[in-house]
Amino acid sequence: MAQPEGLLYSKEHEWVKIEGDTALVGITDYAQNSLGDIVYVELPRVGKAISQFGNVGVVESVKAVSDLFTPIGGEVLEINDTLENDPAAVNRDPYGAGWLFKVKLADANEKNNLLSAADYEKIATE
């Protein structure tokens, strides 16, 4: 499927939506589809400083446990705590209700290390 425009993507199948000096992070539709039914999401705690492409948590599906990498660095402002009871939201709506966490950006230039929707599309359909 086509990737939403206006978002940036990482090779590790995360998306990021930059709004001013904050950013919203989630995993892509391709990622949720490959993982299958997600049963648990472990997110970084609020206030934690995270660096771009660093390992910040875990996504567990019925198939596998996968590391979660952040596409962008900064300080965690907020996490989607509805996922604790409803991790399947990531499957249902990966770009909406299934968002993972919100970051206060450390360095706006980091977005230059990310992919456009079209470039990510190439990786995901390889």
Binding site: S34, G36, D37, V39, Y40, E60, V62, K63, A64, S66, P87, A88
Partner: protein, 518 residues
């Protein structure tokens, strides 16, 4: 409360739990009627607050027999579960292990009265050491992952003794077993995951990039989880040793190499074996396994205790000495027990200590040794060769109708992928797996290794006949053909099993494992 009815005896979806069966006073009692229980047991041990079910012996037998009919195992059908080596467990193993002398041996029996069992442990340990090129094994750990943990604890202590506590990194290729990173993390190491190259192997160049003076251990499975032999293993081992690290061999796939090549000769310093895979002890439900851990000479003193020690019988042991003379005069060759005594050695100051209580699972040592002696050295070598032959036979045939991402000679197992099929029809590896259950076979391992999308990992083992393999291939072909014509049929599988498609998400999220009185 309800009782068993003929309906329950037919296989239905939800048979009553044993707690829901029976009536008060129904249990068969073997103590004399009217005599208080205090006559048989100390009062302090008696309690009446456990809601135990009151069932007749016959109902209990029926209940568990019925449950046993709902399971599937190697004794019922083909079980190609990759990386698990689900081969036939020869009955002679059990015949030996149930001999009174082993089965009724108490772990507190003094060494002098348990020479037979100790000799079995000693001979098993020596045989494994020679078969895999290690200086010594400890039979103490209870399972593969338990032995992995033991090996990493050995590495940790070894580095500590050498003042090299800076070594905190364990390198695990993405084609290694899932337990490897877990064991390393459990031991307090940092895990460095190493991607494999386009040939599905560890690249010497890539591993050199992550090696350094903080490298503790490199954990590898060879052949790896793609069923491919790491053909640069000598260079990899040399590179790891060059920076002062240790090489760990995950023996999960030992069925592919046994008697043909030895991890010790490949350059490994530590290893484990899963006796339930390669050496035909039962795979029983996650418990009561046996996972010997083996080491090269420089690590022997760190092995978990106890280790069985053998000593030449002392000359003043007159009776035995006379027996020995008589035995040799009668033309019977002297057995080790005629000339040697065995003891459990707990006094090993550098040991990491015991990984579990007592002597570990002695009955499994008996089973494994029975298997080894029944096959002999040449037989064990042939076991691996046939396992490899069977895997390649199935691989080539399956490549006709499913993708095989690494189309080259494999070892004891191979991976196929349903990625193309999923794109074309929506039918996933999971659906193929469920569909196989409808045909009376166990599914292959799915979605592992993670680097192959829609992965099916198939390990037929050496104990299956060509007819069984051909039948499996035909069934798999039929499932794939059905998927292309009517995918919804495959997606609805299984339909012939007692329990249909289970809700795996709910099972993971809301496990309900405990019965509580209503």
């Amino acid at each position: 409360m309800s009782t068993l009815t003929s309906n329950d005896l037919a296989l239905n979806a939800a048979p009553p739990l044993i707690f829901e069966l029976g009536q008060e006073g129904r249990a068969n009692r073997y103590v004399e009627e009217g005599k208080p229980l205090e006559q048989f047991l100390p009062k302090t041990l008696l309690r009446d607050d456990l809601p135990l079910p009151d069932n007749s012996e016959l109902d209990v037998v029926r209940h568990f027999t019925q449950l046993s009919q709902r399971t599937f195992g190697i004794d019922l059908g083909f079980y190609p579960l990759g990386s698990c080596t689900m081969k036939y467990n020869p009955r002679i193993n059990d015949a030996m292990a149930s001999k009174r002398e082993f089965a009724q041996l108490h772990p507190y029996t003094p060494d002098e009265f348990s020479q037979g069992a100790l000799q079995v442990m000693y001979e098993l340990e020596r045989s494994l050491a020679s078969l895999f090129g290690m200086a010594a094994f400890s039979l103490n750990p209870s399972a593969g992952a338990h032995a992995e943990l033991a090996a990493l604890l050995i590495a940790k202590k070894y580095f500590k003794d050498r003042g090299e506590t800076r070594r905190d990194k364990v390198i695990v290729p993405d084609t290694a077993h899932g337990t490897n990173p877990a064991s390393a993390a459990m031991c307090g190491f940092k895990v460095i995951s190493l991607p494999s190259d386009e040939r599905g192997r560890v690249s010497v160049e890539e591993i050199k990039k992550v090696l350094g003076d903080d490298t503790a251990v490199c954990m590898m499975t060879n052949p790896n989880t793609l069923g491919l032999f790491e053909d640069h293993i000598h260079e990899i081992a040399a590179a790891v040793h060059e920076v002062g690290g240790l090489m760990y061999y995950d023996g999960a796939n030992a069925n592919a190499i046994m008697g043909n090549v030895r991890p010790g000769d490949m350059g490994f310093d530590l290893m484990h074996l899963n006796l339930h895979k390669t050496f035909t002890i039962p795979h029983g439900g996650g418990g009561a396994g046996h996972g010997p851990v083996g080491v090269a000479a420089h690590l022997v003193e760190y092995l978990p205790t106890p280790v069985v020690r053998a000593a030449l019988r002392q000359a003043q042991d007159d009776t035995r000495a006379q027996d020995d003379t008589r035995a040799s005069q009668n033309g019977r060759p002297l057995a080790p027990s005629d000339t040697m005594t065995f003891s459990l050695d707990f006094d090993r100051p550098k040991s990491i200590g015991p990984m579990r209580s007592f002597w570990s699972n002695v009955a499994h040592a008996v089973r494994a040794l029975s298997y080894m002696y029944a096959n002999g050295a040449d037989g064990l070598k042939k076991v691996s060769q046939l396992a490899v032959l069977n895997a390649n036979y199935v691989r080539v045939k399956v490549a006709d109708f499913l993708e095989t991402p690494y189309p080259e000679i494999c070892r004891h197992e191979f991976v196929a992928s349903a990625q193309e099929l999923k794109k074309a029809t929506g039918v996933k590896a999971l659906d193929i797996a469920k569909s196989l259950l409808d045909h009376g076979m166990m599914a292959p391992t799915m979605y592992f290794p993670l680097i192959v999308p829609e992965c099916l990992m198939i390990e037929p083992t050496e104990t299956e006949s060509k007819e069984t393999l051909d039948h499996f291939i035909a069934v798999l072909r039929e499932i794939v053909e059905t998927a292309r014509k009517e995918p919804e049929t495959v997606m609805a599988a299984p339909v012939t099993t007692v329990v249909g498609r289970v809700d795996e998400t709910r099972a993971a999220r809301q496990p309900n494992l405990k019965w509580e009185p209503a």
